[in-house]
């Protein structure tokens, strides 16, 4: 697929993202007129809702969606598995375990304005990454299969630890843990966006620097090596960058699943498997997709908010099954395998 044939779909994706970013902040249970958002002073509730609640929330969803979908794109190439997504390696479970420990501990604290919950969740994610690194280095090399299986095992173990923590805690803490692991984007102000942005930007830059390698890796380690790719080093860098990105996002928003699965696959159908085009498309579409689902989650039921992770899971489950039952040529074509 040459550049001329990729530009129109990329343009459509960009237009879609722009439309979502432009329209989503205006959508909600309270009508806000266009002129009202510029009012200041005592009569500025509409402005406050728009600038302090809706816009930060849409931006947070967009940034988180960008990061999760790019991470999914990378994992699907790294592991040569179309069903891989950001939570495959247990990073989200590690963050959830860290958050659970904080909630049971029960003493709120702040460090440089960042809440203890986010810090503990991030710490849990980082410990998981280090542990997986150490596991994967055993017996030399970071093979995709070994990483994937280790990640699944770690994810299952951490999930059982979270259940154990819930069992040992009292009713109130149990409810708080349950709410957190459903994921949510109920932010006030721009601090959560600023907290996630460094991780997402760093991850995106590292991934962008390795686009040529990402085009080679799905074809096999031998093929990539034959074309001069240092497979182990590239894999290590991408693994660290994307795990940090996921850790930073989950620490703020909790685990939001399936975005990293759905967005890259839809973009592959539009754009193809060349990561030079796939990456910007995935970035934009993933961000817009999560912003759109969050808009639905916060608007559809009066006086109640569905956690966005519930909505993405409701979409992602059927999508996952649809992928699973695709015929093999189509499935592998979606990840660039010959």
């Amino acid at each position: 697929m040459n550049a001329g044939r990729r530009l129109p779909p990329l343009f459509i994706v960009a237009l879609f993202s722009l439309a979502v970013l432009s329209i989503a902040p205006w959508v909600g249970r309270h009508w806000i007129g266009p002129g009202e958002i510029w009012r200041a002073g005592t009569d500025s509730t509409a402005a406050e809702i728009f600038w302090q609640l809706r816009l930060p929330r849409v931006l947070a969803a967009f940034v988180a969606g960008m990061g999760l979908s790019v991470c999914g794109m990378v994992f699907q190439s790294l592991f040569r598995n179309p069903l891989a997504e950001p939570f495959t390696l247990g990073v989200a479970s590690g963050a959830s375990a860290g958050a659970s420990v904080y909630l049971v501990w029960g003493t709120p604290f702040l460090v440089f304005g960042i809440g203890g919950l986010s810090l503990c969740a991030f710490g849990g994610a980082m410990l998981t990454i280090l542990f997986l690194f150490a596991l994967a280095r055993q017996r030399g090399g970071y093979s995709p299969t070994r990483l994937l299986l280790a990640g699944v095992a770690v994810s299952l173990t951490l999930s059982s630890i979270i259940m154990f923590i819930q069992q040992m805690s009292d009713l109130t803490t149990s409810i708080r843990i349950l709410h957190w692991i459903m994921g949510g984007l109920e932010v006030v102000g721009y601090q959560p966006v600023l907290n996630m942005l460094p991780f997402v930007l760093l991850g995106v830059v590292v991934v962008a620097m390795h686009i040529p390698e990402l085009n080679q890796l799905p074809l096999g380690d031998d093929w990539a090596c034959g074309r001069g790719v240092n497979v182990a080093r590239v894999r290590r860098r991408l693994f660290v960058a994307t795990s940090l990105m996921v850790g930073g996002i989950v620490a703020e928003c909790g685990p939001i699943g399936f975005v990293g699965l759905i967005a890259p696959h839809i973009c592959r159908r539009l754009i193809g498997v060349d990561h030079r085009w796939l990456m910007p498309a995935t970035l934009l579409f993933g961000g817009a997709f999560l912003a759109l689902t969050d808009t639905f989650a916060r608007s559809c039921i009066p006086n109640a908010q569905i956690p966005v992770g519930v909505v993405t899971a409701m979409l992602g489950g059927p999508f996952f099954l649809w992928l699973l039952f695709q015929d093999r040529p189509a499935l592998h074509a979606s990840t660039g395998l010959s």
Binding site: L292, P302, A304, Q305
Partner: protein, 325 residues
């Protein structure tokens, strides 16, 4: 043509999602689910003293009850969807739940006071209200003294100090009456249950009342002693083996009416037949309290205490008989 086919699914998805959003949005607008950001002027009678807040939003059912009990109900304009007592709360605007607060609705009400609890369940709400620069009153109602302090605090904040003082005095009088009426013999060991599945003829997801919370204190006030050890968590989850090991003299199930959804107290009590060797089951000391005040740490805690005292006395519990071989 092949190019169009490639775009068909994604474009179809895009338009389907956009159409769904449009339909939902349109439906909400059509049925009036969307409210203007500017709240309508309140037509509630203002009973507050000059300078007292007139647009109070309560983020906890217990605090809503306290506000109405101190005659500040006319100043309450927003409550949670779980606030059901007194019936007048149904006329107030809902701002969501206790943990999933709808901040847009909250802001649109222009509150001059937001009241919430100090426990960890509402930590996020406290932080977000502070970020939105909303005036808040945070109270702790985790103990009986905490509830009385909360009544005093909310009475002062709402400009109803006198009413709050009278209410506290009445509650203390009734508490003292209960203490005086407790029999001198050994207090029965009571297992208070605050949550479990009901009507399945089995005991699942049983959450009991541990020490160091207001329900434990209410039990003590009523003349019972908690069957759980002093180092247990506040609301631990128990399995059947734990209950057999504890072997309480009395078991009391506490439910709100919504939690049991029409299942009768008799059917609920029959679930305990699964454990026939427990002292409370074999001696018929299973009681079920289904009341809106059963698990809310508000001013009606005294009703629960009086109910528990009556239940423990009415079935003539006698430790001497229970201890006999």
């Amino acid at each position: 043509m092949r190019r169009l086919k490639r775009w068909r699914a994604p474009l179809g998805l895009f338009f389907a999602v956009a159409a769904a959003i449009g339909v939902v949005y349109g439906a909400l607008r059509w049925y009036g689910g969307l409210s203007p950001v500017r709240a309508k002027p309140s037509d509630l009678p203002l009973t507050a003293a000059a300078g007292a807040p007139s647009r109070i939003v309560s983020l906890a059912p217990s605090l809503t009850e306290i506000l109405f009990a101190v005659d500040a109900g006319g100043q309450v304009i927003g409550v949670t969807r779980y606030c059901a007592f007194p019936p007048e709360t149904k006329e107030r605007i809902s701002v969501g739940g206790m943990t999933d607060t709808d901040y847009e609705t909250l802001l649109s009400l222009h509150p001059d006071l937001v009241v919430l609890r100090s426990n960890l369940l509402q930590e996020s709400q406290r932080q977000k209200c502070a970020q939105l620069k909303l005036p808040v009153c945070v109270v702790s109602d985790d103990t009986v003294e905490g509830i009385l302090s909360a009544i005093a605090a909310l009475g002062e904040q709402s400009g109803h100090v006198e009413k709050a003082t009278l209410l506290i005095a009445d509650l203390r009088r009734r508490m003292e009456q209960l203490r005086q009426s407790v029999p001198a013999q050994r207090r029965p060991r009571v297992l208070l249950i605050v949550g479990r599945t009901v009507g399945l003829s089995s005991l699942k997801e049983v959450y009991a009342v541990g020490p160091n919370n207001y329900l434990d204190e209410v039990l003590t006030l009523a003349g019972g002693s908690n069957a759980l050890e002093s180092d247990a968590p506040a609301f631990p989850r128990l399995g059947p083996e734990d209950i057999v090991r504890l072997n309480p003299d009395v078991i009391v199930d506490l439910f709100s009416p919504e939690a049991v959804q029409g299942v009768s107290a008799k059917v609920i009590a029959q679930d305990w037949r699964q454990l026939p060797n427990v002292q409370a089951v074999s001696s018929g000391q299973i009681h079920v309290v289904i009341a809106s005040y059963a698990v809310i740490p508000g001013p009606r805690f005294i009703l629960l205490a009086e109910d528990l005292a009556r239940l423990m006395r009415q079935n003539s519990y006698s430790p001497a008989e229970a201890d006999a071989p």
